[in-house]
Symmetry: C2
Subunit: 486 residues, 2 copies
């Protein structure tokens, strides 16, 4: 591809040279974020925010199709409310931001900025849930939360981040358990279909559960560098929160019972996951479903008669199909434009110049695999429109998904001993380890200590690597997915 006049691309660090720097280069150069004077808090710029808006739109309609309703809770939690569930407060209190003053007055009780909103939803449920007729409540909210992290990185770990948090409450344990799993599957389907990112679905070990949960499910994705990124979690709470917050309802047979709860969340770290799953040394590579611009039209020799007219016709044709398309007729060179939209990860580029028009065709380039093809302009642009639609809906998503899956397969290692883990990591680089586990936390800790990989999850899809624990050699209970994590 043309690299002349190509300042932006030259400025990116190569992925192989320094993966972390490559990542932050993309965040900055694709204009996704900008730092602020508050450490760990960032500006999400228009291009980054447009990706988030597309993520929101798809997820929100999935949630609503499953019967969920959006609400909005306050951002403040009084300290006494946060303290009501023991495990929960232990997990979150060390990392919350505290508001102590309103104007010039000291508050009687300090308030934390929500790190998550279980306590607020519980207080609300205690007010509004009285009878089995009030159940279930299937609520969600789109807000930002704050966790006072020490080490921060754009999207991946920030002190404030955007997310959705679903909070549901049910009459029975079974219904709540089913909801927990349903939402994990909803997340996994979204990642695989809309973000072209294969994920492993599984359960967190005891030591890795959400503070206050009975069980936590998660989806784990593999990044380019072989590290794991937790893309979403779904928690089953049983009736623990209901007991701590005094939420009770009268059942059909007139008994007073405790309801059962769940919560589940996905965050702006998904944007980090997109970068590190699909990006390359030319910049971002965006899945069509969430790309702010799906197709960019770059006119060649645009001052020549007929070029901008034809480019405009293509623009209108694709727009009418609901495609997010942009015509760049600025006075920058085509080479500059190529590099710019490669950096921004626009899935499809259409090049159209005088020669193309003469030949009744245009050039269609796909970002993810750097392929070019010529497509006919005849048939009232119908051929081109069909081609572009197929690229955006089928060919590109499938291709991107397959590439990511291939990478995961190549970097997933079956191991039966800790030595094998260390050898695999050393020889093949970071990746997912599939290894058996006896279920003892001591072994989990020891594997981490000896090899640097932690348990990511106990995958729902189990296969037997051996019958012994990778660490102690005692009989194994399950196969665990291990890895280094973001």
């Amino acid at each position: 591809m043309a690299k002349n006049n190509d300042k932006k691309v030259e400025a990116i660090t190569s992925m192989d040279e320094d993966f972390a720097k490559w990542y932050t280069d993309i965040c900055k150069k694709a204009e996704l974020v900008e730092y602020t004077s508050v450490k760990g808090c960032m500006v999400i710029r228009p291009y980054g925010y447009a990706i988030w808006e597309n993520i929101q739109k798809i997820l929100d309609s999935e949630f609503k199709a499953l019967g969920h309703e959006n609400v909005c809770m306050p951002m403040f939690i009084p300290e006494s409310l946060l303290n009501k569930e023991k495990d929960h407060v232990e997990g979150f209190a060390p990392e919350v931001a505290w508001v102590t003053h309103g104007g010039s007055e000291k508050l009687e009780e300090r308030l934390c900025v929500r790190p998550t909103s279980e306590t607020l939803f519980c207080e609300h449920y205690a007010n509004i849930v009285h009878s089995y007729r009030d159940l279930p409540k299937l609520y969600n909210q789109w807000v930002s939360v704050v966790r006072w992290e020490k080490t921060t990185r754009p999207f991946l770990r920030s002190r404030e981040f955007l997310w959705q948090e679903g909070h549901t409450i049910h009459a029975t344990a079974q219904e709540a358990a089913e909801e927990t799993e349903r939402m994990l599957n909803c997340y996994a389907d979204f990642c695989e279909k809309s973000l072209c990112m294969p994920v492993v679905r599984g359960q967190k070990t005891e030591s890795d559960k959400f503070a206050g949960a009975v069980s936590t499910y998660a989806i784990e994705a593999m990044m380019h560098d072989g590290k794991a990124l937790q893309a979403g979690t779904s928690h089953y709470f049983g009736d623990g929160f209901a007991k701590a917050f005094g939420i009770q309802f009268t059942s059909k047979d007139n008994k007073l019972e405790y309801p059962h709860q769940t919560s589940w969340g996905m965050t702006t770290r998904l944007i980090g996951a997109i970068i590190m799953t699909h990006g390359d040394n030319n910049g971002l590579v965006l899945p069509p479903a969430v790309a702010p611009v799906q197709v960019v039209i770059v006119p060649i020799a645009q001052f020549k008669e007929g070029v901008l007219e034809k480019a405009g016709e293509i623009l209108e044709k694709l727009k009418a199909l609901g495609i997010r398309v942009k015509l760049d007729d600025s006075d920058n060179s085509p080479g500059w434009k190529f590099a710019e939209y490669e950096m921004r990860g626009v899935p499809v580029r259409i090049e159209i110049g005088p020669k193309d028009i003469e030949n009744g065709q245009c050039v269609v380039a796909t970002r993810y695999n750097s392929q070019k093809q010529t497509v006919s302009l005849e048939n009232m642009l119908e051929t081109l429109a069909a081609k572009v639609t197929d690229l955006l809906e089928n060919e590109i998503p499938q291709g991107m998904f397959n590439n990511a899956l291939e990478n995961r397969k190549n970097r997933t290692y079956q191991c039966t001993t800790v030595d094998e883990i260390n050898k695999a990591l050393e020889e093949k680089g970071d990746g997912f380890i599939e290894a058996m586990w006896c279920g003892d936390e001591a072994c989990e800790d020891k594997v981490k200590e000896l090899s640097g990989v932690g348990s990511r999850c106990i995958p729902f899809e189990q296969h037997q690597i051996s019958d012994k624990c990778v660490c102690c050699g005692k009989p194994a209970k399950s196969m665990v997915l291990w890895g280094k994590a973001y």
Copy 2:
């Protein structure tokens, strides 16, 4: 209308008896909000939030059509950043919430939770605006902000509220001034068309400007009780913030210049405005454009053969037209359902029973004027669909707007002396006062002191009530709209 079995309606305080209590009754009984243990912070419940989502959807697409892009700034502002613009900090510092600790550690510099984000946008602009090629930036964000108010009321005045804040930066003063006015008109059109709420467009007096602004424009709406509610504001900043924050750009002729800025905002108080503009003693009355449910179908004698089938057909027919329609086939009585959806302000109710089906018709009731009409079910439901569409798009919005305008006309009093103001308020009740003003702040204060009404705005549409100031009798500069305000 049937009032049997009608618990909800009986529970509302009458508007004439106690307007404030009528208002909070609707907030609670229509399930718009619920209080929390943090004073002034509320839960926006699904029905209330769905109204906000509809407001967002319409406004957001208007903003984008005018070229604006969404971004997201942090929620925290370091004290030193807030202090950079003198007037701005004086206006806001007394009412911000301060974060002093992160986890167990005291912060080196305290952070306020944003009361508004001019300072954050300025910091960002200083980073990204360097050349005339970088201008304009037309940004907006949908977030919540915090102002530590003493007296709070749901939607109208809360410590945390949801809003959008637009922040734009331009190469010239003229462009920024035009943007300020364009956005005020955008707000006014939205209020009049989508919320059926007539507004007066005007400029705030000096004493009532936004902290740090050169000029503030506002739209003022009249509530049922004759009080004014400021529904939106738009501010022109000149280059004051740019100078305070060191934002400069190189112009086309290579000079270093200061850019000019604006900001503009609308908040969840619009929901309060909807309640107090259109509501009645049966509850909420929602404008069709923002109603979560636009049409409710209530089957009569639903156990009789054919009733639910026909109701289902109507449901599908209206759904296919993109109408937000709900069929309530729960086992509550029709009377209960009538009262319930009246309370919730659903614009159109369709009643369908065995007799209606026999006669090939159904009953269509409109919430805002309590009218009923029979509509034919023939012609494959086309007649009904056309009728409902016309009601939602034309008849109801126009009727609601006209009623509100009529109320405003009846309660707008032209006065030439403070005595006349007092007499009008005493005899006719609270309302808008149109009276002339010399431009002197002392007179503005004195009118407030003597009659209780403050200046709402200097309307763009001026008419001459007299040629003398209502207070001092000196030559008048402009007609001011005065009133008591929410």
